[in-house]
Amino acid sequence: MILAATVTRPSFTGALFAGSALPVAIIVLIVLVVWYVAAIPMNAVLSQPLIDQAGGGLANTLSISWSLPRPVLPAPHQVMAELWNTVFTVAPWRPRSLLYHCWVTLSSTLLGFMLGTILGVALAIAIVHVKALNRSLMPWIIASQTIPILAIAPMIIVVLGSIGLTGLVPKSLISMYLCFFPVTIGMVKGLTSPDPMQLDLMRTYNADASQVLWKLRWPASVPFLFTSLKVAIAIALVGAIVGELPTGAQAGIGARLLNGSYYGQTQQIWAALVAAAVMSSGLVWLVGFIERQVARAMGAKP
């Protein structure tokens, strides 16, 4: 009896290893250690004279390397402090607030993601239905993605600026330009995923092309759509940030990055990067969450 009780009760370490808490914690710890250690040699150019002045020694090395006002590589706690100061101590509608810049970037990300999804799906539907388009359009679509976005973004901004379009729209268009591609590729695959038997069935009903699309191809492509959307929303954010760089850096995560590098505010750069990463994972999680709800409604095995 005692033996049975011991066996069935999960031990504390067992519970830790069963979940993902421990592995995640270990990775975070490793990243932090590497980061702190790397900050010492990377900041040496700036910190060495100060350390010598203070009389050297390990304690001085660490405290000075990790607390420079404009470090080459800020220590994690410096980035956290910057995040705290720009998120919680400033009203979110003030340009000093990081949340304000997040919102600016997020709004063009979401608009670009929406436009990109619509364009991507529309292209995929056209390509699946018109054989000639597969040959004629696909090379252009692929070529469009081989051009570095950094090269084309300023041109888009300038061209649209000359016809009076500034602010949200040009940035969203750059986002769209990047994120339609995975949607097109995924949806071409998804819309052609029904097996021949399912298509033959539609033929025996004498179903027209739009019925085949909406009753068979579209529902069959939903898993492919969500996989593409997860990729697309992450690159939409990258597109929005890149789109902010040539606009004179007025607002947005991109502007924070650019400003930070102009004035050597590395904490500001890192804080903006962390904000972008958090937003990006949040968006991907959101798409995944919607995906699970849709899958359940469509009768997926739990």
Binding site: D195, M197, Q198, D200, L201, M202, R203, T204, Y205, N206, A207, Q211, K215, L216, P219, A220, V222, M298, G299, K301
Partner: protein, 261 residues
Amino acid sequence: MAAASVIEARELSLTFETADGPVYALSKVNLTVHDGDFVSFIGPSGCGKTTLLRVIADLEQASEGAITVNGMTPEEARRQRAYGYVFQAPALYPWRTIERNVALPLEIMGFGATERAERIARNLDLVNLRGFEKKFPWQLSGGMQQRVSIARALAFDPKLMLMDEPFGALDEIVRDKLNQQLLELWARTRKTVVFVTHSIPEAVFLSNRIVVMSPRPGRIIDVIETNFPKDRTLDIRETPEFLKVAHRVREGLRQGHSYED
């Protein structure tokens, strides 16, 4: 008086051009199916029985010869939704519940909501699947899924049922049960059924005419009429008459094979 002919094939041939040269899937097939018939095509794989069914359904086109379905070309017949087709696999749409799978042809053909609901209930009743309306296909066994696909084919009430080895993937016990149910269904609904199988007992039990086919090139080598009572049960498989017919089918199949080795 002779019943009107539903399917008429004259000197029908179909050749697939492949990289390894032409494949003669069907060669000079002559066949008449009358209204109310239960006709089985039986033969080894590659004998063209499924191809012949697909030509009738306008899922393949013959290279030579003539074929009519209800007096029309197969394409016209398909456009008029003259037949219900049951595939080797259930081919249910996994994102639709059972009732919505049965509703699929009805939606496409523009039936109203009340008419749809009435037909779903009636046809699920017919295949003994009342109470499973809200389930998704993966929650049903293989035999139940195939019954759903039969209900789906019956839903728009076609006069002609084309069935391509519908029970091929099922175990023998389930197959026997479904054979019995299919026979009852046929007796009750007076439909014309064309049924593809590679099981001799299944063909003899179900059909009033058995078309024996042979491969390379795919052709008909014998047509056997049976005369079992309409209300027969699985027990007749033990009777001498049944065994005699089964023997003739087996002989036909063996003859067809003697060519190659």
